[in-house]
């Protein structure tokens, strides 16, 4: 199961952290990176899958101010919002499409 845990570096420094995601990869890594790297307080944000045979993803956040974990949480929350918006828009469009077309199955 995916466990977000903190890797060794900088246990005292809340602003810069590397998170390790178990059994996650580029799918979540890149999506989160693109969202988080745009936050104004974020100095650096990047991810890596250190080895293709190991099923984990490292996610690094460095902040100008604030805590790295807060940016991560905000990123995940934003991604949830994006999913909700996409679902909502897709449902609305699909409904209007099926009303105007006969869908062949």
């Amino acid at each position: 199961m995916p466990v977000a845990q903190l890797a060794g570096s900088g246990t005292t420094n809340e602003a810069s952290k590397t998170f390790v995601f178990q059994s996650e990869g580029h799918t979540l890594g890149n999506a989160l990176r693109c969202i988080i790297s745009n936050y104004p307080d974020v100095q650096f944000c990047g991810y890596t899958v250190p080895h293709p045979a190991e099923n984990k993803m490292h996610f690094r956040i460095q902040m100008y101010n604030g805590k790295a974990i807060d940016a991560l949480k905000r990123g995940l929350e934003d991604l949830v919002k994006v999913c909700d918006i996409t679902l909502e828009k897709f449902d609305a469009e699909f409904q209007s499409f099926t009303e105007n077309h006969t869908v062949q199955n």
């Binding site: 995916p2 699909f94 062949q104």
Partner: protein
């Protein structure tokens, strides 16, 4: 080069390189990603939905999101496939392991949402996580004398070909009540599994479980899911007569039309959507400056081709729900 003076972010495909066109206003691509703005700009338009194929446009979206959705559909949305084969008898010429592999690739009709992942292979299959099938078939000489003169294998032998339709579903527990016969089984009845001759026999038990494309490609719910950018073509110099037909030949059918104006034949862009962006135009020196080909960078044409177990719209929604649940469970963990 900036012949498109508009707000759309686009690249222009020239003969030897691709150049960025500078839009007149900031676009989704150079903006900072912002959920509120995303909600305002993002549009989905379904273009085509037939049988197991759906084509829709996602407009005003960042490439990373389009790619995330594509990756989720291909390797995260689960489906059912045969994973274990118990071979009780196999006297056909196809080897056990090859046969088992072939069986695994057969697409199955079964709604994966009604099943659970098999957590532990040491436990016996149960109604919640496994579908059991049976393949019992024997080839023999055809006793029917009227076909004696024939030399076709189908006439002289009984069961010379094993097809996916010979796979029979064996309900476990309450599955008989839960599913109808038509809801479970191979999607295509005519997949050739093996060829046999008299004396050859297959007696197999098949176990299908739920998993996703990360585990094995056979669990992917789609034949393919892909996106491409919307092409746009502009004719900047009038192309007439023979050259107009030559121009038409350079593009995919239906992209360029030829219009009669008086006694002149004039090339016009009819519909650039289905152009393959081939570079045939650059073979003609007189035509290559007459046309500007471009792609709109925030307009994704997304195509989902389902294997058949789930409808493509369901697959898309499943993919997004999966991403959402993944984020929510991570958030939960971070907050605890």
């Amino acid at each position: 080069m900036n012949t498109f003076n508009d707000e759309k972010p686009r690249v222009i495909m020239t003969e030897h390189k691709i150049v960025n066109n500078n839009p007149t206003a900031p676009t989704v691509l150079d903006d900072q990603f912002d959920v509120k703005k995303f909600k305002k700009i993002f549009r989905i338009v379904i273009v085509r939905y037939e049988n197991n194929e759906m084509e829709f446009d996602m407009i005003g979206i960042h490439p990373f999101l389009a790619n995330t959705f594509r990756r989720l559909i291909i390797s995260d949305v689960p489906s059912m496939a045969i994973e274990k084969v118990h071979i009780l008898n196999n006297t056909s010429i196809i080897q056990d392991e090859v046969l088992a592999h072939r069986l695994g690739l057969i697409p199955l009709r079964a709604d994966p949402r009604l099943f659970e992942y098999k957590a532990d292979w040491s436990t016996p299959p149960n109604e919640k996580d496994t579908l059991e099938f049976e393949l019992k078939i024997k080839c023999s000489n055809n006793k029917d004398s009227s076909k004696k003169e024939s030399s076709r294998a189908e006439d002289i032998y009984k069961n010379p070909n094993v097809y996916s339709k010979h796979i029979k579903w064996v309900p476990i527990g309450n599955q008989k009540k839960k599913f109808k016969d038509v809801e479970v089984g191979p999607i295509h009845p005519d997949i050739l599994i093996s060829k046999m001759r008299p004396g050859h026999e297959l007696d197999l038990k098949l176990f299908a479980v739920k998993s996703n494309g990360k585990d094995h490609a056979k669990f992917s719910p789609v034949a393919t899911a892909f996106y491409r950018l919307l092409p746009e073509i502009k004719i900047v110099k009038p192309v007439e007569g023979e050259a107009a037909y030559r121009l038409q030949q350079c593009f995919s059918p239906g992209v360029i039309g030829v219009r009669s104006e008086g006694d002149k034949k004039l090339a016009v862009v009819k519909d650039a959507r289905y152009d393959t962006s081939s570079r045939n135009i650059f073979r003609y020196d007189d035509l290559k400056d007459a046309v500007v080909m471009s792609k709109i960078q925030d307009h994704f044409i997304f195509t989902i081709e389902s294997v058949g177990a789930m409808q493509p719209d369901v697959i898309f929604k499943e993919a997004i729900t999966l991403l959402k649940e993944k984020c929510l469970s991570l958030l939960n963990e971070l907050n605890s």
